[in-house]
C-alpha cells in the first residue's frame, strides 16, 4: 500500500467518481466540480506562462511594439462581458473565422476529397495482384453504394434501392467494426484506472 499522500488523494477522488455507479452522491458532485475548477486554473497558468509572457510581454520588453496590435484585437474578447460594447467581440471572432475558413477550403478538398477519390479509383496495375485487386474493387463498390445511401434528395426506388441497400450493408459492417473498437477503448480506460488503484495505491498488483 502506498503512503504517498498524493496517491491517496488521487485514489479517493477516483473512488468518488466511481461512486456514481451506485447513484449520484455528494462525493461525486464534489469531485466533478473540483475537476472543472482545477482544469480551468491549469489553463490560466498555461495561458500566462506559455503564451502571454513569451509572446507578448517578452517581445514588448525587447522593443517589438508591433505585438500590441494583435494583443489589443485579442483583448476585444473581454467586451463580451460588457453589454454596451459586446458587439466588438465580433472583430476577433471574424478574424479567426475568416482565417480558418480560408485555410480549410483548399486543404479539406485536397485531403478529404481529391486524395480519397484517387485512392478509390481502380487502376490497371492494382489488378495485377488478384487479392489487392479484389479488395480495391470491393472498396470502389462500397464507397459508391455508401454515397448513394446518403443521397436523400430522391426516394430510394428503382436502381437507387439495391445500390443503397448494398451501401447499408457496408455501413453496418463499418459500424460493427467501430463498435468492436469502441468496446476495446472503453475497457482500456477502465483497465488503466484499476491498474492505478490496485497497483499504485493498494499494491495488490505486483
Amino acid at each position: 500500500m502506498s503512503f504517498d499522500p498524493w496517491i491517496w488523494i488521487g485514489a479517493l477522488l477516483t473512488l468518488a467518481i466511481f461512486s456514481f455507479l451506485y447513484r449520484e452522491n455528494p462525493f461525486y458532485r464534489f469531485a466533478e466540480h473540483l475537476f472543472v475548477g482545477v482544469a480551468n486554473g491549469y489553463a490560466i497558468t498555461v495561458m500566462w506562462h506559455l503564451v502571454l509572457t513569451t509572446r507578448v510581454i517578452t517581445p514588448l520588453r525587447g522593443g517589438n511594439f508591433i505585438v500590441i496590435i494583435p494583443t489589443l484585437i485579442g483583448m476585444l474578447y473581454f467586451c463580451r462581458f460588457m453589454p454596451r460594447f459586446a458587439w466588438l467581440v465580433r472583430f476577433p471572432i471574424a478574424i479567426a473565422l475568416g482565417f480558418s475558413a480560408g485555410v480549410s477550403i483548399p486543404a479539406v478538398l485536397q485531403a478529404s476529397f481529391i486524395k480519397q477519390i484517387q485512392g478509390t479509383i481502380v487502376y490497371p496495375h492494382t489488378l495485377v495482384n488478384w487479392q489487392q485487386g479484389l479488395w480495391a474493387v470491393i472498396i470502389l463498390i462500397g464507397v459508391i453504394s455508401t454515397i448513394f445511401y446518403f443521397y436523400f434528395s430522391r426516394e430510394h426506388t428503382g436502381i437507387l434501392k439495391p445500390v443503397s441497400y448494398i451501401g447499408i450493408i457496408f455501413i453496418m459492417i463499418g459500424f460493427g467494426a467501430s463498435f468492436g473498437y469502441t468496446v476495446m477503448a472503453r475497457l482500456s480506460l477502465l483497465i488503466g484506472r484499476f491498474y492505478f488503484l490496485f497497483k499504485d495505491w493498494l499494491g495488490i498488483i505486483k
Binding site: Y22, H49, A111, S178, Y181, L187, L189, I191
Partner: protein
C-alpha cells in the same frame, strides 16, 4: 422462460460488477499471451525506425488529455523509448492545454529510465540536445502552418521558457524539411487535421496513435498512404511496446502489454453479455 425474463431485467449494478470482475481478476492474476502485431502498427514502427537520426527529427504531438490517458500514455512512452534507443531527436508539443502535463510526465519518466542506465553524457538523454518540449501553441492551425517555414517562430519559447532557437537541437531542426515523421497521439480527429493541413501542404509524413474509438475513421487515410501507420488503442500500444522491447531491449514498465490479459477476458465478458441478452430477447419474444 422466467429465468430469461428476470435475466433481461437484471439490475444494472450487477452488470457493472461483472465487468469490474472481468477486468480486475486478470490484472491481479495475469497470464501471458504472445502479442501479434497488426500491419498498421508495423508500418508505423518501420517508419520511425527508418528516420535518419543525424539529419532529421521526429515530432510527437500530444493531442490527448487525461480522459484518454490510459490508452494513449503507453503509446507516448513507447515512442519515446524507441526514439531515445535510436538516439533519434524528438520534438514534443501538445494541442489541447490539458495534454501538456501528460507530455511532461511521459518525457520525465522515459528520460529517467534511460538516464538511470547511462554512464556518460554521451549515453544520457539531455534536454536541448536529444529532445525539446515545445509546449502549447495558442492557435494550433496558425502554429502548424508556421512550422512549415520556421519552428522557432511558431514556438518562440519552449515549455521551460528557453528561447527555442537558442537550443542546440533547434539549430539544425528548422522546419518540416528536417522532420522525418509527425506522430499525432490523439483521442480525437487530430491526426486527420495534421493530414489535412500539414501532410497535404508540406508533404511531411504523418502517423498516428489513436484511441480505439477513432481508429476505424482513419483507415481511409491509411489506405491512400496519407497516413503512415497507426497504433490503435491499448492493443496498438502493446504491439508497439513489444516491437520496441524486442528490437532494442528497452527496460521500463510496459503497461499496455500488462493490460492485454484483462482486455481479452473483458471482451469475452461483453460478448457473453450480448449473447445472453439476445438469447433472452428471442426466447421471451417467441413465448409472447
Amino acid at each position: 422462460m422466467k429465468i430469461w425474463s428476470s435475466l433481461l431485467k437484471i439490475d444494472r449494478r450487477i452488470i457493472y460488477l461483472a465487468v469490474a470482475i472481468s477486468v480486475l481478476v486478470p490484472l491481479i492474476f495475469p497470464f501471458s499471451i504472445p502479442t501479434n502485431v497488426m500491419p498498421p502498427t508495423q508500418v508505423l514502427f518501420n517508419a520511425v525506425d527508418n528516420i535518419d537520426p543525424d539529419n532529421q527529427a521526429m515530432l510527437i504531438s500530444v493531442d490527448y488529455d487525461p480522459q484518454t490517458m490510459p490508452e494513449l500514455q503507453p503509446m507516448l512512452k513507447a515512442l519515446l523509448r524507441h526514439a531515445f534507443a535510436r538516439r533519434l531527436p524528438v520534438l514534443v508539443m501538445s494541442w489541447p492545454v490539458q495534454g501538456l502535463g501528460l507530455g511532461k510526465k511521459g518525457l520525465d519518466e522515459v528520460t529517467a529510465e534511460f538516464n538511470r542506465l547511462a554512464q556518460t553524457a554521451e549515453d544520457s538523454i539531455i534536454y536541448g540536445r536529444d529532445y525539446v518540449f515545445l509546449g502549447w501553441p495558442p492557435y494550433w492551425l496558425a502554429a502548424v502552418l508556421r512550422m512549415g517555414s520556421d519552428i522557432g517562430q511558431a514556438f518562440p519559447a519552449d515549455y521551460y521558457k528557453n528561447r527555442t532557437s537558442a537550443l542546440e537541437l533547434m539549430k539544425r531542426i528548422k522546419n518540416y524539411n528536417d522532420i522525418g515523421l509527425i506522430i499525432s497521439i490523439a483521442g480525437s480527429a487530430a491526426p486527420q487535421s495534421w493530414i489535412t493541413y500539414v501532410n497535404t501542404r508540406f508533404g511531411v509524413r504523418v502517423g498516428a496513435g489513436s484511441t480505439a474509438v477513432s481508429a476505424p475513421d482513419f483507415y481511409p487515410f491509411l489506405n491512400t498512404g496519407q497516413m503512415t501507420g497507426m497504433m490503435a488503442g491499448l492493443k496498438g500500444a502493446s504491439e508497439y511496446e513489444h516491437l520496441v522491447h524486442t528490437r532494442y531491449k528497452t527496460t521500463g514498465e510496459m503497461a499496455a502489454i500488462r493490460g492485454m490479459s484483462s482486455q481479452s477476458i473483458a471482451h469475452l465478458a461483453i460478448l457473453v453479455l450480448v449473447v445472453i441478452g439476445n438469447i433472452g430477447y428471442f426466447v421471451t419474444r417467441r413465448k409472447q
